[in-house]
Protein backbone atom coordinates (compact mmCIF):
# COMPACT_ATOMS: atom_id res chain seq x y z
CA UNK A 1 0.00 0.00 0.00
CA UNK A 2 1.38 3.38 -1.02
CA UNK A 3 1.90 5.74 1.91
CA UNK A 4 3.71 8.55 0.07
CA UNK A 5 2.86 9.58 -3.48
CA UNK A 6 4.01 12.55 -5.48
CA UNK A 7 3.58 13.35 -9.15
CA UNK A 8 5.32 16.16 -10.99
CA UNK A 9 5.98 17.77 -7.65
CA UNK A 10 7.69 21.11 -8.08
CA UNK A 11 8.85 23.77 -5.69
CA UNK A 12 10.13 27.11 -6.88
CA UNK A 13 11.61 29.72 -4.57
CA UNK A 14 11.84 33.39 -5.32
CA UNK A 15 14.95 34.97 -3.91
CA UNK A 16 16.23 38.50 -3.73
CA UNK A 17 19.31 39.06 -5.83
CA UNK A 18 21.19 41.85 -4.10
CA UNK A 19 23.71 43.90 -5.99
CA UNK A 20 27.20 44.19 -4.56
CA UNK A 21 28.29 46.80 -2.00
CA UNK A 22 26.61 49.62 -0.09
CA UNK A 23 25.26 51.18 -3.29
CA UNK A 24 23.58 47.87 -4.07
CA UNK A 25 22.03 47.80 -0.61
CA UNK A 26 20.66 51.34 -1.01
CA UNK A 27 19.37 50.55 -4.49
CA UNK A 28 17.66 47.51 -3.02
CA UNK A 29 15.57 49.79 -0.83
CA UNK A 30 13.80 51.13 -3.91
CA UNK A 31 14.06 48.42 -6.52
CA UNK A 32 14.65 44.73 -6.07
CA UNK A 33 15.45 42.03 -8.53
CA UNK A 34 14.33 38.52 -7.79
CA UNK A 35 15.45 35.27 -9.29
CA UNK A 36 13.60 32.00 -9.36
CA UNK A 37 15.23 28.85 -8.05
CA UNK A 38 13.73 25.46 -8.76
CA UNK A 39 14.47 23.43 -5.63
CA UNK A 40 12.37 20.38 -6.58
CA UNK A 41 11.59 19.74 -10.21
CA UNK A 42 8.86 17.41 -11.54
CA UNK A 43 9.54 14.90 -8.81
CA UNK A 44 7.72 11.58 -8.72
CA UNK A 45 8.11 9.27 -5.77
CA UNK A 46 6.03 6.41 -4.43
CA UNK A 47 6.83 4.85 -1.08
CA UNK A 48 5.09 1.75 0.20
CA UNK A 49 4.12 1.19 3.81
CA UNK A 50 6.99 -0.31 5.84
CA UNK A 51 9.74 0.68 3.39
CA UNK A 52 13.06 2.12 4.53
CA UNK A 53 14.08 4.60 1.86
CA UNK A 54 17.29 6.56 1.68
CA UNK A 55 17.16 10.01 0.17
CA UNK A 56 20.62 11.03 -0.92
CA UNK A 57 22.20 13.86 -2.80
CA UNK A 58 24.72 16.66 -2.41
CA UNK A 59 23.99 19.90 -0.52
CA UNK A 60 21.36 21.99 -2.27
CA UNK A 61 20.06 19.00 -4.23
CA UNK A 62 16.50 19.53 -2.96
CA UNK A 63 16.24 16.75 -0.36
CA UNK A 64 15.29 19.03 2.51
CA UNK A 65 12.77 20.92 0.39
CA UNK A 66 11.20 17.59 -0.56
CA UNK A 67 10.96 16.51 3.08
CA UNK A 68 9.53 19.94 4.01
CA UNK A 69 6.77 19.40 1.46
CA UNK A 70 6.11 15.84 2.58
CA UNK A 71 5.77 16.95 6.20
CA UNK A 72 3.56 19.89 5.27
CA UNK A 73 5.95 22.59 6.46
CA UNK A 74 5.91 24.26 3.06
CA UNK A 75 3.48 24.13 0.16
CA UNK A 76 4.47 22.87 -3.29
CA UNK A 77 4.36 25.26 -6.23
CA UNK A 78 2.72 22.63 -8.43
CA UNK A 79 2.17 18.90 -8.81
CA UNK A 80 0.41 16.27 -6.77
CA UNK A 81 1.36 15.21 -3.29
CA UNK A 82 -0.32 12.81 -0.91
CA UNK A 83 1.01 11.42 2.36
CA UNK A 84 -1.15 8.81 4.11
CA UNK A 85 -4.05 10.13 2.07
CA UNK A 86 -3.58 13.72 3.27
CA UNK A 87 -2.47 16.85 1.49
CA UNK A 88 0.42 17.65 3.84
CA UNK A 89 0.36 21.45 3.78
CA UNK A 90 -3.15 21.48 5.20
CA UNK A 91 -1.43 20.36 8.41
CA UNK A 92 -4.53 18.59 9.67
CA UNK A 93 -4.33 17.31 13.21
CA UNK A 94 -5.07 13.72 12.09
CA UNK A 95 -2.15 13.94 9.68
CA UNK A 96 0.32 15.33 12.19
CA UNK A 97 -0.75 12.64 14.64
CA UNK A 98 0.63 9.97 12.31
CA UNK A 99 4.16 11.01 11.50
CA UNK A 100 7.29 12.24 13.22
CA UNK A 101 10.32 14.23 12.14
CA UNK A 102 13.77 13.95 13.66
CA UNK A 103 16.41 16.43 12.67
CA UNK A 104 20.01 15.74 13.55
CA UNK A 105 20.85 19.34 14.23
CA UNK A 106 17.59 20.50 15.79
CA UNK A 107 15.76 19.31 18.84
CA UNK A 108 12.22 18.62 19.99
CA UNK A 109 13.35 18.10 23.57
CA UNK A 110 13.21 20.65 26.39
CA UNK A 111 16.83 21.33 27.25
CA UNK A 112 16.02 22.54 30.77
CA UNK A 113 13.92 19.49 31.60
CA UNK A 114 14.57 15.77 31.67
CA UNK A 115 13.63 13.38 28.85
CA UNK A 116 10.99 11.92 31.16
CA UNK A 117 9.33 15.37 31.40
CA UNK A 118 9.41 15.84 27.63
CA UNK A 119 7.96 12.39 27.02
CA UNK A 120 5.14 13.17 29.47
CA UNK A 121 4.41 16.32 27.46
CA UNK A 122 4.45 14.37 24.18
CA UNK A 123 2.06 11.85 25.71
CA UNK A 124 -0.52 14.64 26.12
CA UNK A 125 0.24 16.32 22.80
CA UNK A 126 -0.29 13.07 20.89
CA UNK A 127 -3.13 11.92 23.19
CA UNK A 128 -1.41 8.60 23.95
CA UNK A 129 -3.30 6.43 26.46
CA UNK A 130 -1.38 5.79 29.69
CA UNK A 131 -0.84 2.03 29.15
CA UNK A 132 0.32 2.52 25.56
CA UNK A 133 2.62 5.32 26.69
CA UNK A 134 4.25 3.12 29.33
CA UNK A 135 4.54 0.17 26.96
CA UNK A 136 6.16 2.22 24.20
CA UNK A 137 8.44 4.12 26.52
CA UNK A 138 9.70 0.95 28.16
CA UNK A 139 10.18 -0.73 24.79
CA UNK A 140 12.36 2.06 23.41
CA UNK A 141 14.20 2.73 26.64
CA UNK A 142 15.12 -0.96 26.83
CA UNK A 143 16.12 -1.04 23.19
CA UNK A 144 18.54 1.85 23.70
CA UNK A 145 19.51 0.87 27.25
CA UNK A 146 19.04 4.43 28.49
CA UNK A 147 17.13 3.86 31.74
CA UNK A 148 19.65 5.81 33.81
CA UNK A 149 19.44 8.85 31.51
CA UNK A 150 15.70 9.38 31.68
CA UNK A 151 15.85 11.70 34.69
CA UNK A 152 18.89 13.66 33.64
CA UNK A 153 18.54 17.22 32.35
CA UNK A 154 18.63 17.08 28.54
CA UNK A 155 21.25 19.84 28.23
CA UNK A 156 23.75 17.64 30.09
CA UNK A 157 23.41 14.70 27.66
CA UNK A 158 26.03 13.99 25.04
CA UNK A 159 25.12 14.39 21.36
CA UNK A 160 24.71 10.63 20.94
CA UNK A 161 22.57 10.31 24.05
CA UNK A 162 20.44 13.24 22.98
CA UNK A 163 19.83 11.71 19.57
CA UNK A 164 18.63 8.50 21.20
CA UNK A 165 16.20 10.54 23.30
CA UNK A 166 15.02 12.45 20.22
CA UNK A 167 14.21 9.16 18.55
CA UNK A 168 12.35 7.84 21.58
CA UNK A 169 10.31 11.07 21.77
CA UNK A 170 9.54 10.87 18.05
CA UNK A 171 8.44 7.23 18.12
CA UNK A 172 6.42 7.36 21.32
CA UNK A 173 3.11 7.77 19.47
CA UNK A 174 3.79 4.95 16.99
CA UNK A 175 4.01 7.13 13.89
CA UNK A 176 3.33 5.47 10.55
CA UNK A 177 6.10 7.49 8.93
CA UNK A 178 9.36 8.70 10.40
CA UNK A 179 11.26 11.41 8.54
CA UNK A 180 14.89 11.41 9.53
CA UNK A 181 17.27 14.17 8.58
CA UNK A 182 20.93 13.34 9.23
CA UNK A 183 20.34 11.41 12.46
CA UNK A 184 24.00 10.39 12.82
CA UNK A 185 25.54 13.77 12.08
CA UNK A 186 28.43 14.48 14.43
CA UNK A 187 28.15 11.13 16.21
CA UNK A 188 31.05 8.80 16.88
CA UNK A 189 31.19 5.31 15.34
CA UNK A 190 29.70 3.55 18.39
CA UNK A 191 26.74 5.91 18.74
CA UNK A 192 26.10 5.85 14.97
CA UNK A 193 26.01 2.07 15.03
CA UNK A 194 23.59 2.04 17.96
CA UNK A 195 21.29 4.47 16.16
CA UNK A 196 21.38 2.33 13.00
CA UNK A 197 20.61 -0.85 14.90
CA UNK A 198 17.72 0.90 16.64
CA UNK A 199 16.25 2.24 13.40
CA UNK A 200 16.53 -1.13 11.71
CA UNK A 201 14.73 -2.72 14.63
CA UNK A 202 11.95 -0.10 14.61
CA UNK A 203 11.43 -0.52 10.88
CA UNK A 204 11.31 -4.30 11.06
CA UNK A 205 9.43 -4.87 14.31
CA UNK A 206 6.97 -1.97 14.12
CA UNK A 207 6.59 -1.65 10.37
CA UNK A 208 7.33 2.07 10.54
CA UNK A 209 7.99 3.59 7.13
CA UNK A 210 11.25 5.52 7.32
CA UNK A 211 12.54 8.15 4.94
CA UNK A 212 16.17 8.81 5.75
CA UNK A 213 18.15 11.77 4.49
CA UNK A 214 21.87 11.37 5.05
CA UNK A 215 25.25 12.29 3.70
CA UNK A 216 26.77 9.21 5.26
CA UNK A 217 26.91 6.38 2.76
CA UNK A 218 27.29 3.94 5.63
CA UNK A 219 23.81 4.91 6.98
CA UNK A 220 22.23 4.36 3.60
CA UNK A 221 24.10 1.16 2.85
CA UNK A 222 23.27 -0.49 6.17
CA UNK A 223 19.68 0.67 6.52
CA UNK A 224 17.99 1.32 3.22
CA UNK A 225 17.02 -1.37 0.75
CA UNK A 226 15.93 1.36 -1.62
CA UNK A 227 17.67 4.61 -2.41
CA UNK A 228 16.53 7.72 -4.18
CA UNK A 229 19.27 9.98 -5.45
CA UNK A 230 18.44 13.64 -5.96
CA UNK A 231 20.40 16.29 -7.78
CA UNK A 232 19.35 19.76 -8.94
CA UNK A 233 15.86 18.98 -7.66
CA UNK A 234 15.44 15.97 -9.93
CA UNK A 235 15.35 12.30 -9.20
CA UNK A 236 18.33 10.70 -10.92
CA UNK A 237 18.18 7.23 -9.40
CA UNK A 238 15.43 5.28 -7.68
CA UNK A 239 16.08 1.65 -6.93
CA UNK A 240 18.00 -0.98 -5.06
CA UNK A 241 20.73 0.41 -2.79
CA UNK A 242 23.10 -2.50 -3.42
CA UNK A 243 22.77 -1.97 -7.16
CA UNK A 244 23.46 1.73 -6.70
CA UNK A 245 26.72 1.05 -4.91
CA UNK A 246 27.59 -1.83 -7.23
CA UNK A 247 27.15 0.26 -10.34
CA UNK A 248 28.23 3.70 -9.32
CA UNK A 249 30.58 3.45 -6.39
CA UNK A 250 33.93 2.95 -8.04
CA UNK A 251 36.43 3.45 -5.28
CA UNK A 252 37.14 3.31 -1.57
CA UNK A 253 39.32 5.44 0.62
CA UNK A 254 41.89 3.57 2.70
CA UNK A 255 43.83 5.25 5.53
CA UNK A 256 46.83 3.33 6.87
CA UNK A 257 48.77 4.33 10.01
CA UNK A 258 52.19 2.66 10.31
CA UNK A 259 53.94 1.80 13.58
CA UNK A 260 56.95 3.83 12.43
CA UNK A 261 58.19 5.61 9.37
CA UNK A 262 58.26 3.29 6.33
CA UNK A 263 58.82 3.64 2.64
CA UNK A 264 55.83 1.84 1.15
CA UNK A 265 55.10 0.87 -2.43
CA UNK A 266 51.85 2.11 -3.87
CA UNK A 267 50.15 0.01 -6.58
CA UNK A 268 49.83 1.96 -9.81
CA UNK A 269 46.03 1.75 -9.90
CA UNK A 270 45.81 3.58 -6.52
CA UNK A 271 45.75 7.35 -6.15
CA UNK A 272 47.71 8.81 -3.26
CA UNK A 273 45.56 11.36 -1.42
CA UNK A 274 47.95 11.98 1.48
CA UNK A 275 51.38 10.65 2.42
CA UNK A 276 53.46 11.34 5.52
CA UNK A 277 56.14 9.28 7.29
CA UNK A 278 53.67 7.13 9.17
CA UNK A 279 50.40 7.74 7.35
CA UNK A 280 49.14 6.89 3.89
CA UNK A 281 45.75 7.73 2.42
CA UNK A 282 44.82 6.00 -0.83
CA UNK A 283 41.91 6.03 -3.24
CA UNK A 284 41.55 2.45 -4.44
CA UNK A 285 39.33 1.01 -7.17
CA UNK A 286 36.59 -0.89 -5.35
CA UNK A 287 37.43 -4.28 -6.88
CA UNK A 288 41.06 -4.01 -5.73
CA UNK A 289 40.39 -2.98 -2.13
CA UNK A 290 40.81 -6.46 -0.70
CA UNK A 291 44.02 -7.09 -2.64
CA UNK A 292 45.57 -3.82 -1.47
CA UNK A 293 44.51 -4.48 2.11
CA UNK A 294 46.14 -7.90 2.08
CA UNK A 295 49.34 -6.57 0.53
CA UNK A 296 49.76 -3.97 3.25
CA UNK A 297 48.77 -6.15 6.20
CA UNK A 298 51.33 -8.79 5.31
CA UNK A 299 54.25 -6.54 4.54
CA UNK A 300 54.22 -3.45 6.73
CA UNK A 301 54.11 -2.74 10.50
CA UNK A 302 50.54 -1.38 10.69
CA UNK A 303 49.11 0.41 13.73
CA UNK A 304 45.62 1.05 12.32
CA UNK A 305 43.64 0.85 9.08
CA UNK A 306 40.41 2.57 8.14
CA UNK A 307 38.32 2.02 5.02
CA UNK A 308 35.67 4.53 4.01
CA UNK A 309 33.06 4.48 1.32
CA UNK A 310 33.39 6.95 -1.50
CA UNK A 311 31.76 10.24 -0.69
CA UNK A 312 28.25 10.85 -1.90
CA UNK A 313 29.12 13.75 -4.22
CA UNK A 314 31.28 11.57 -6.47
CA UNK A 315 28.62 8.87 -6.70
CA UNK A 316 25.94 11.39 -7.58
CA UNK A 317 28.19 13.00 -10.16
CA UNK A 318 28.77 9.61 -11.75
CA UNK A 319 25.05 8.82 -11.91
CA UNK A 320 24.37 12.25 -13.31
CA UNK A 321 26.97 11.82 -16.02
CA UNK A 322 25.85 8.26 -16.65
CA UNK A 323 29.32 6.75 -16.25
Amino acid sequence: MKIIETENLTKKYKRYKKQEGLAGSIKGLFHREYEEKIAVDDFDIHVNEGEFVGLIGPNGAGKTTLVKMLTGIIAPTSGKIQVMGFYPNKLEKAFKQQYAVVMGQKSQLFFELTTEDTLRLFKEIYCIPEDEYKRNKNFFVDLFQVQELMNVQVRTLSLGERMKMELIAALLHNPKILFLDEPTIGLDAVASKQIRTFLKDVNESRGTTILLTSHYMEDIKVLCKRSVVVNYGRKIYDGDTDMLFENYQKSKKMTIYFEHSVESDVPEYCRVLEKTDDKLVLEIPKQNAEKVLESYIGHYPIRDIGIEEEEIGSVVERIYKGV
Binding site: A100, V101, L121, E124
Partner: protein
Protein backbone atom coordinates in the same frame (compact mmCIF):
# COMPACT_ATOMS: atom_id res chain seq x y z
CA UNK B 1 -7.26 21.28 26.66
CA UNK B 2 -5.16 18.83 28.68
CA UNK B 3 -2.30 19.09 26.23
CA UNK B 4 -2.16 22.86 26.68
CA UNK B 5 -2.16 22.45 30.45
CA UNK B 6 0.75 20.04 30.10
CA UNK B 7 2.59 22.56 27.89
CA UNK B 8 2.06 25.25 30.55
CA UNK B 9 3.25 22.80 33.21
CA UNK B 10 6.39 21.96 31.22
CA UNK B 11 7.35 25.63 30.93
CA UNK B 12 6.60 26.19 34.61
CA UNK B 13 8.88 23.28 35.47
CA UNK B 14 11.56 24.71 33.18
CA UNK B 15 11.45 27.98 35.16
CA UNK B 16 11.95 26.13 38.42
CA UNK B 17 15.19 24.55 37.24
CA UNK B 18 17.18 27.72 37.77
CA UNK B 19 17.42 28.10 41.54
CA UNK B 20 19.29 31.41 41.51
CA UNK B 21 16.65 32.96 39.22
CA UNK B 22 13.93 31.77 41.59
CA UNK B 23 15.80 33.25 44.53
CA UNK B 24 16.30 36.59 42.71
CA UNK B 25 12.58 36.66 41.87
CA UNK B 26 11.71 36.42 45.55
CA UNK B 27 14.27 39.08 46.50
CA UNK B 28 12.95 41.42 43.80
CA UNK B 29 9.35 40.98 44.91
CA UNK B 30 10.27 41.80 48.52
CA UNK B 31 12.60 44.69 47.72
CA UNK B 32 9.95 46.26 45.51
CA UNK B 33 7.63 46.55 48.50
CA UNK B 34 10.41 47.95 50.64
CA UNK B 35 11.31 50.47 47.96
CA UNK B 36 7.66 51.53 47.59
CA UNK B 37 7.37 51.96 51.32
CA UNK B 38 10.44 54.21 51.53
CA UNK B 39 9.59 56.22 48.39
CA UNK B 40 5.98 56.96 49.25
CA UNK B 41 6.86 57.66 52.92
CA UNK B 42 9.10 60.47 51.71
CA UNK B 43 6.57 61.76 49.19
CA UNK B 44 3.74 61.69 51.68
CA UNK B 45 5.65 63.62 54.36
CA UNK B 46 3.32 66.38 55.57
CA UNK B 47 0.57 65.33 53.14
CA UNK B 48 -2.54 63.25 53.65
CA UNK B 49 -3.32 62.60 50.00
CA UNK B 50 -1.59 62.58 46.61
CA UNK B 51 -3.75 62.47 43.48
CA UNK B 52 -6.74 61.61 45.65
CA UNK B 53 -5.10 58.57 47.23
CA UNK B 54 -4.00 58.16 50.85
CA UNK B 55 -0.64 56.68 51.86
CA UNK B 56 -1.83 53.10 52.45
CA UNK B 57 -3.97 53.15 49.30
CA UNK B 58 -1.05 54.45 47.26
CA UNK B 59 1.29 51.73 48.61
CA UNK B 60 -1.33 49.08 47.83
CA UNK B 61 -1.88 50.49 44.31
CA UNK B 62 1.85 50.65 43.62
CA UNK B 63 2.47 47.11 44.76
CA UNK B 64 -0.49 45.64 42.86
CA UNK B 65 0.26 47.48 39.63
CA UNK B 66 3.96 46.67 39.67
CA UNK B 67 3.11 43.05 40.48
CA UNK B 68 0.79 42.91 37.44
CA UNK B 69 3.31 44.76 35.30
CA UNK B 70 5.95 42.21 36.24
CA UNK B 71 3.66 39.38 35.15
CA UNK B 72 3.24 40.77 31.67
CA UNK B 73 6.21 39.25 29.83
CA UNK B 74 4.49 38.35 26.58
CA UNK B 75 6.88 40.43 24.45
CA UNK B 76 9.13 37.39 24.51
CA UNK B 77 6.54 35.50 22.42
CA UNK B 78 7.00 37.78 19.43
CA UNK B 79 10.77 37.91 19.90
CA UNK B 80 11.02 34.13 20.19
CA UNK B 81 8.77 33.55 17.19
CA UNK B 82 10.55 35.98 14.92
CA UNK B 83 13.91 34.47 15.92
CA UNK B 84 12.74 30.93 15.26
CA UNK B 85 11.08 31.77 11.97
CA UNK B 86 14.25 33.42 10.75
CA UNK B 87 16.63 30.68 11.82
CA UNK B 88 14.35 27.89 10.63
CA UNK B 89 13.49 26.23 13.94
CA UNK B 90 9.81 27.26 14.01
CA UNK B 91 8.88 24.15 12.04
CA UNK B 92 9.09 22.07 15.21
CA UNK B 93 5.80 23.62 16.31
CA UNK B 94 4.21 23.11 12.90
CA UNK B 95 4.73 19.35 12.82
CA UNK B 96 3.16 18.50 16.19
CA UNK B 97 -0.62 18.16 16.62
CA UNK B 98 -1.24 21.38 18.54
CA UNK B 99 -2.41 24.80 17.48
CA UNK B 100 0.65 27.04 17.47
CA UNK B 101 -1.38 29.89 18.96
CA UNK B 102 -2.49 27.65 21.81
CA UNK B 103 1.06 26.42 22.30
CA UNK B 104 2.51 29.89 22.72
CA UNK B 105 -0.31 31.10 24.96
CA UNK B 106 0.09 27.98 27.13
CA UNK B 107 3.85 28.51 27.22
CA UNK B 108 3.32 32.07 28.43
CA UNK B 109 0.73 30.95 30.97
CA UNK B 110 3.23 28.47 32.41
CA UNK B 111 5.90 31.13 32.76
CA UNK B 112 3.43 33.65 34.25
CA UNK B 113 2.05 31.08 36.70
CA UNK B 114 5.53 30.62 38.08
CA UNK B 115 6.22 34.35 38.48
CA UNK B 116 2.71 34.96 39.82
CA UNK B 117 3.08 32.26 42.45
CA UNK B 118 6.51 33.40 43.62
CA UNK B 119 5.53 37.09 43.61
CA UNK B 120 2.26 36.49 45.41
CA UNK B 121 3.85 34.39 48.14
CA UNK B 122 6.64 36.88 48.77
CA UNK B 123 4.22 39.83 48.81
CA UNK B 124 1.76 38.08 51.09
CA UNK B 125 4.48 37.08 53.56
CA UNK B 126 5.91 40.59 53.61
CA UNK B 127 2.54 42.19 54.26
CA UNK B 128 1.78 39.65 56.96
CA UNK B 129 5.14 39.73 58.74
CA UNK B 130 5.40 43.53 58.84
CA UNK B 131 1.69 44.10 59.43
CA UNK B 132 1.42 46.53 56.51
CA UNK B 133 -2.22 47.57 56.12
CA UNK B 134 -3.31 46.51 52.66
CA UNK B 135 -6.12 48.59 51.19
CA UNK B 136 -8.39 46.55 48.97
CA UNK B 137 -11.98 46.43 47.82
CA UNK B 138 -14.45 44.61 50.03
CA UNK B 139 -16.78 44.05 47.09
CA UNK B 140 -16.42 40.39 46.04
CA UNK B 141 -17.95 41.08 42.61
CA UNK B 142 -15.42 43.81 41.89
CA UNK B 143 -12.60 41.61 43.17
CA UNK B 144 -13.76 38.86 40.83
CA UNK B 145 -14.03 41.34 37.93
CA UNK B 146 -10.47 42.45 38.68
CA UNK B 147 -9.15 38.88 38.63
CA UNK B 148 -10.94 38.06 35.37
CA UNK B 149 -9.67 41.32 33.90
CA UNK B 150 -6.10 40.42 34.81
CA UNK B 151 -6.47 37.03 33.12
CA UNK B 152 -8.07 38.57 30.02
CA UNK B 153 -5.47 41.34 29.94
CA UNK B 154 -2.58 38.88 30.04
CA UNK B 155 -4.32 36.71 27.43
CA UNK B 156 -4.79 39.73 25.20
CA UNK B 157 -1.13 40.70 25.46
CA UNK B 158 -0.07 37.12 24.65
CA UNK B 159 -2.39 37.08 21.61
CA UNK B 160 -1.18 40.48 20.45
CA UNK B 161 2.45 39.42 20.69
CA UNK B 162 1.69 36.15 18.91
CA UNK B 163 0.11 38.20 16.13
CA UNK B 164 3.21 40.38 15.90
CA UNK B 165 5.32 37.21 15.86
CA UNK B 166 3.45 35.67 12.93
CA UNK B 167 3.86 38.88 10.98
CA UNK B 168 7.43 37.59 10.45
CA UNK B 169 5.87 35.16 7.95
CA UNK B 170 5.07 38.17 5.79
CA UNK B 171 7.51 40.94 6.72
CA UNK B 172 10.57 39.14 8.15
CA UNK B 173 11.51 42.30 10.08
CA UNK B 174 8.93 43.11 12.76
CA UNK B 175 10.84 45.45 15.07
CA UNK B 176 8.88 48.42 13.76
CA UNK B 177 5.60 46.75 14.79
CA UNK B 178 6.98 45.92 18.23
CA UNK B 179 8.04 49.54 18.64
CA UNK B 180 4.57 50.79 17.67
CA UNK B 181 2.98 48.41 20.17
CA UNK B 182 5.31 49.47 23.00
CA UNK B 183 4.81 53.17 22.33
CA UNK B 184 1.05 52.86 22.00
CA UNK B 185 0.88 50.88 25.21
CA UNK B 186 3.06 53.42 27.04
CA UNK B 187 0.97 56.32 25.68
CA UNK B 188 -2.38 54.84 26.65
CA UNK B 189 -1.25 53.94 30.15
CA UNK B 190 0.02 57.49 30.71
CA UNK B 191 3.72 56.61 30.78
CA UNK B 192 4.58 59.07 27.98
CA UNK B 193 2.27 62.01 28.78
CA UNK B 194 0.14 62.17 31.96
CA UNK B 195 -3.37 61.27 30.86
CA UNK B 196 -4.71 64.32 32.71
CA UNK B 197 -3.03 66.56 30.10
CA UNK B 198 -4.90 65.00 27.22
CA UNK B 199 -8.30 66.25 25.97
CA UNK B 200 -11.31 64.45 27.40
CA UNK B 201 -12.40 63.00 24.03
CA UNK B 202 -8.98 61.41 23.59
CA UNK B 203 -9.06 59.80 27.01
CA UNK B 204 -12.59 58.54 26.28
CA UNK B 205 -11.33 57.08 23.01
CA UNK B 206 -8.54 55.26 24.79
CA UNK B 207 -11.10 53.43 26.87
CA UNK B 208 -11.85 51.41 23.75
CA UNK B 209 -8.25 50.27 23.51
CA UNK B 210 -7.27 47.23 25.56
CA UNK B 211 -4.03 48.50 27.13
CA UNK B 212 -5.81 50.61 29.76
CA UNK B 213 -7.37 47.43 31.15
CA UNK B 214 -4.24 45.31 31.31
CA UNK B 215 -2.64 46.62 34.49
CA UNK B 216 -4.04 50.06 35.33
CA UNK B 217 -7.76 49.37 35.74
CA UNK B 218 -7.42 46.02 37.55
CA UNK B 219 -5.02 47.68 40.02
CA UNK B 220 -7.57 50.43 40.63
CA UNK B 221 -10.39 47.90 41.03
CA UNK B 222 -8.41 45.92 43.61
CA UNK B 223 -7.98 49.04 45.78
CA UNK B 224 -11.66 49.89 45.43
CA UNK B 225 -11.48 52.67 42.82
CA UNK B 226 -13.07 53.09 39.35
CA UNK B 227 -15.56 50.34 40.15
CA UNK B 228 -18.08 51.71 37.63
CA UNK B 229 -15.66 50.88 34.80
CA UNK B 230 -15.36 47.19 35.70
CA UNK B 231 -18.02 45.81 33.38
CA UNK B 232 -17.03 48.07 30.48
CA UNK B 233 -13.46 46.90 30.94
CA UNK B 234 -14.43 43.23 30.82
CA UNK B 235 -16.50 43.74 27.69
CA UNK B 236 -13.80 45.74 25.88
CA UNK B 237 -11.10 43.22 26.76
CA UNK B 238 -13.25 40.23 25.80
CA UNK B 239 -14.01 41.77 22.41
CA UNK B 240 -10.31 42.42 21.78
CA UNK B 241 -9.39 38.88 22.85
CA UNK B 242 -11.97 37.28 20.55
CA UNK B 243 -10.94 39.57 17.69
CA UNK B 244 -7.28 38.60 18.06
CA UNK B 245 -8.04 34.88 18.46
CA UNK B 246 -9.79 34.96 15.09
CA UNK B 247 -7.27 37.34 13.49
CA UNK B 248 -4.37 35.12 14.57
CA UNK B 249 -5.97 31.95 13.20
CA UNK B 250 -6.75 33.57 9.87
CA UNK B 251 -3.39 35.35 9.53
CA UNK B 252 -1.37 32.26 10.45
CA UNK B 253 -3.26 29.98 8.06
CA UNK B 254 -2.99 32.53 5.27
CA UNK B 255 0.64 33.52 5.68
CA UNK B 256 2.23 30.17 6.52
CA UNK B 257 1.15 28.78 3.14
CA UNK B 258 3.02 31.54 1.35
CA UNK B 259 6.08 31.29 3.56
CA UNK B 260 8.95 29.17 2.27
CA UNK B 261 11.58 29.64 4.91
CA UNK B 262 10.07 27.72 7.82
CA UNK B 263 13.12 25.48 8.02
CA UNK B 264 13.25 21.88 9.04
Amino acid sequence: MKKYLEIAKAYMKAQLIWRSDTFVDVILAVSKILFAWILWSILFEGKKQIAGLGFQTMISYYIISSYLFQLEKSAEISQQMTGMLRNGTFSKYMVIPVQTQGYFVAMEAGKIAFSAGIGFLATFLWFYLFRIPFVHTANIKILLCGIIMVVLGLLFMALLNYFLGILTLKFEEINIFLMIKDNLSAFVTGAVIPLALLPEWMIAGMRFLPFYYVTYLPSMLFIGKCEEEAITGLIVLSVWCIAFLVLNLVTYEHDRIKYDGAGI
